[in-house]
């Protein structure tokens, strides 16, 4: 069976796996964005929180994904829960880092002027600091997404969703009929998802970057 025929004949399975893969990544990134930007905002004001959260997120990244997923089985079991938890914590570091860098890299005069004009801290954060730091935060989210799309393939190991199932299936039956096709379908599917997410973020970046930051003098 050629690769084309394989994909056509297994289209239902592959497209469902791809959709689940993308969904798992999207949910994990959404969670990581909320947690990471929150930690970044707190970390911007408190050096201790900043150092601790970045150190923790960096430490998590050094744990091999296979090991982390295995360690999670006793806690969150097989399947979606462990997958989402693992992907979320892996995605944290670039988001926290870029939030902190984005906020602390703002022109100090802009913040001082805002305080001097009587903006409350909350309003200053929402109306000035976050919009100005947003392009950098979004870059962090984008990096995390690309990273996590690859890691999500490993989730199949704990019976998680996604295209990893195709890859593992192929690898486990190496040499038999369609094993190469299955691995290839999973891998190419992940590449396609990565490209689509990147296109999505580039559109988001274009639509959400304040116009004043895009204009040329």
């Amino acid at each position: 069976m050629s690769f084309g025929e394989y994909v056509t004949s297994r289209w239902d399975t592959i497209s469902l796996a791809a959709a689940e893969h993308a969904l798992a990544v999207a949910i994990a990134i959404a969670l990581a964005t909320v947690i990471g930007v929150g930690a970044g905002i707190i970390g911007h004001h408190s050096p201790r929180v900043r150092e601790m959260s970045i150190a923790a997120a960096a430490a998590i990244l050094t744990v091999p994904s296979l090991a982390l997923l295995t360690l999670l089985i006793p806690l969150t079991g097989l399947g979606w829960k462990s997958t989402l938890l693992a992907l979320t914590v892996y995605a944290l570091l670039p988001i926290i880092r870029n939030t902190v860098t984005g906020l602390s890299g703002l022109d100090a005069a802009t913040v001082e002027a805002g305080r001097g004009m009587g903006l409350t801290r909350a309003r200053l954060l929402l109306k000035v600091q976050l919009p100005l730091a947003w392009p950098l935060i979004l870059t962090g989210i984008r990096v995390s997404t690309q990273m996590v799309i690859g890691i999500a393939a490993i989730a199949a190991f704990v019976d998680g969703p996604g295209l990893g199932n195709q890859i593992f299936e192929g690898l486990s039956r190496l040499g038999s009929v369609n094993s190469l096709n299955a691995t290839l379908a999973g891998t190419l599917g992940i590449v396609v998802i990565a490209v689509l997410f990147d296109l999505f973020f580039s559109a988001v970046r274009h639509l959400t970057t304040p116009r004043g930051l895009r204009v040329r003098p």
């Binding site: 903006l119 409350t120 304040p210």
Partner: protein, 328 residues
């Protein structure tokens, strides 16, 4: 918020002190000072003397360690800091415009916070842009990155004036521009203040700027101690000590000449001489002297007659108190 709303109100500092933890000496040490309503007072002193810290305590960007601040009789330390700041104009050297907002949104921000209706904000933006000599239709929709340094500083001043605050704090607001633009901004600002009569505290390390703008100058030394607090003419005429004299520099007389205008000097020779270099009534005596030197003559034509070098010298000479009464 303060007893009068848009014209200047009096500011009183009483035993104001800021001692940062871990520092051997207070940054601002026991400063007591009255700033009369509607006057522009310049804090001048070397870097690190505490002048900016003193200023920032007035809008509580720096919280005083001890002491009292009253604006228009109100105890500032008992007010909500954010609410207080909305009623005090604030302009700084780095300007700090919000790059993601248009010029109109930057200027309209405080009025918006104060709950003005949008139509009133729009009118105010127009008015302020015109006031700082920027064409409203051209600049309203621009972003800060599309402006030159001088234009940004003007918008900074316009933004500080937006809610028509009775008090303005300005920390070297023209510092980041080239000398020509700065001179131009200073002149415009003098013109503005004549119309507006705000109470302004203006911080600079440039004594020339202090003389040019200030109704009064407070020369500060380490710890924001007041070395001398008086009108520019009085400080130039009689510096309190060597520290103040050092600040004035070697050319005190020339600086005094720059404070006076041709119209302030009564001329004895009232027959106009068109052959001489001509000055207007508004020309400063320093410029008149410069003109005489440039033309190698000791006289120049004024609208009322002929000003001689001797008359010019007499003004800054033995009886200064008489000449100093000229209206600045």
């Amino acid at each position: 918020m303060f007893d009068r709303d848009t014209e200047g109100v009096r500011i009183e500092l009483r035993a104001l002190t800021k001692h940062y933890p871990g520092q051997p000496a207070p940054a601002v040490d026991n400063v007591t000072m009255d700033i009369p309503a509607g006057e522009l007072v310049v804090f001048v002193g070397p870097s690190g003397c505490g002048k900016t810290t003193t200023m920032k305590m007035i809008n509580r960007l720096v919280e005083p360690t001890s002491g009292e601040i009253r604006i228009g009789g109100q105890d500032v330390l008992s007010l909500d800091p954010d609410e207080l700041r909305r009623h005090i104009g604030y302009a700084i050297q780095q300007v700090g415009l919000f790059p993601h907002l248009t010029v109109a949104q930057n200027i309209g921000l405080v009025p918006k916070l104060l709950g003005w209706p949008q139509a009133k904000i729009d009118d105010r933006v127009e008015e302020l842009l015109a006031l700082v000599s920027l064409e409203p239709s051209t600049f309203r929709g621009r972003y800060p990155r599309q402006l030159s340094g001088g234009q940004q500083q003007r918008i900074g001043v316009a933004r500080a004036l937006a809610a028509d605050p009775p008090v303005m704090l300005m920390d070297e607001p023209f510092g980041a521009t080239d000398p020509i633009t700065r001179e131009h901004l200073q002149n415009e600002f003098v013109r503005l203040q004549r119309q507006l009569h705000k109470t302004i505290i203006f911080v600079t390390h440039d004594f020339e700027e202090a003389i040019k703008l200030g109704d009064r100058i407070a020369v500060l030394r380490e710890g924001s101690h007041i070395a001398q607090y008086d009108t520019p003419a009085a400080i130039l005429d009689a510096p309190a000590d060597d520290y103040v004299a050092g600040f004035i520099g070697q050319d005190a007389t020339l600086k005094r000449l720059a404070l006076m205008r041709v119209a302030d000097v009564p001329v004895t020779d009232t027959i106009p001489d068109p052959a001489l270099p001509q000055v207007s009534a508004d020309t400063t005596l320093r410029e008149a002297l410069d003109l005489m030197l440039a033309h190698g003559t000791d006289r120049c034509g004024t609208p009322t007659g002929v000003l001689s070098y001797a008359e010019l010298c007499a003004v800054v000479g033995p009886r200064p108190e008489e000449a100093m009464t000229g209206d600045r």
